[in-house]
Symmetry: C2
Amino acid sequence: MQNAAQITTTHCEHKLRDADATKLKLVNAALLAFSTRGYDASSTRSIETEAGVKRGLINYHYGSKEALWKAAADHLMSMTERDLGTALETVKQMDEDARLYFFVRAYVAFCAKHPELNRLMIQEGMAHDWRLAWLLERSVRPWYEQVCRIFNQAAELGVAPKMDDHHFYYALTGAATLIFSNAAEARALSGKNPLDPDAVEAHANAVADLFTSIRNPI
Amino acid sequence: MQNAAQITTTHCEHKLRDADATKLKLVNAALLAFSTRGYDASSTRSIETEAGVKRGLINYHYGSKEALWKAAADHLMSMTERDLGTALETVKQMDEDARLYFFVRAYVAFCAKHPELNRLMIQEGMAHDWRLAWLLERSVRPWYEQVCRIFNQAAELGVAPKMDDHHFYYALTGAATLIFSNAAEARALSGKNPLDPDAVEAHANAVADLFTSIRNPI
DNA sequence: GTCTATAATTAGATAGAC
DNA sequence: GTCTATCTAATTATAGAC
């Protein structure tokens, strides 16, 4: 394998690009399927079809459906950590009193941009199996601790609602995300797409006001 | 069929009781399966096994998997309407200022008692198919309008948070329910069962405080 | 990297015996 | 009301030709 990389020809480069393109298409299709339909209800055949690749390529590139799920989940979590990590850095530059408020706004914006994240967490958070264990270990637990830390800092400053951090975490997560993860239902009820920028902005304002005691920071 | 009912013997009565018992076991097992695993991932075979009835009885009693889903969803929605309907009646006897607060508490208590409801809504709210259409028509739309009414009455009295009723509905629903619908995840994170009475009480207090402007009514 | 064939399993639904 | 046999279709996975 190392030798193959050294004697790279244009032919090999082309093949490598094709392989990476195929894998990317599969991971994206898998993410959509696993997060909206669930793991067991998503067949590898349907994922291949939706990805626009030939049948059998999931087993060729990933070896199994389970490995494809892990690759898709890892892809999603890496992107989430990157985006929310930079948001956290930005928030830490701010005045202490305003951190929770802008953290909540950034979190709502991210959830609207990537509803797959919360859909996947909802799908896998109901039953205790290998996928939930994987997600907890890989990302949920570190994220949970970071959110609790921001909340507890705000609580000491008196700008957070009065409650236990665990209840804060689930109240905030649910309030911030349900309208996006259940976008089909929300759209049917209101006639408006909750993922439209105006609706996202309105929801971010509503949730940030709700979960912080200061109404108009700055 | 009408004649058969008229010439009821003890033998027939016994058979009818067996049929009703079988159907009840099937509906309960179906509710658990459809709400936690999703419709497509729940096989009729597994539901029959979990219900402890013989194979083939789903098709015998209901004719199809689709009809079983509708029977299970109707069972759940009837119970929900009954329980939350009486809670609404109780709340309407109260002082106007306190209605929203105690409505939220009653809603949280119900969601903890029947996490299947929100699990089913989450499963079916992501994609727009015949099951979401059925749920919207059957119960979600009337419930949505009742919640908005209570919220708007509280808003006129100045005891509701400042936001659009549609965003209130989804923020409240998400905040109230996620900790129960994702109980497996919440338990793994905190080490405590969120469905325990103490945890339910704490969450009800937290959410009711959050979504009403008056802190200690009465 | 692509395509085909096929194995082994499981799905929902139907018909008929008891 | 219960049970069994069976049908058709779809599933994951493997091996091998190109």
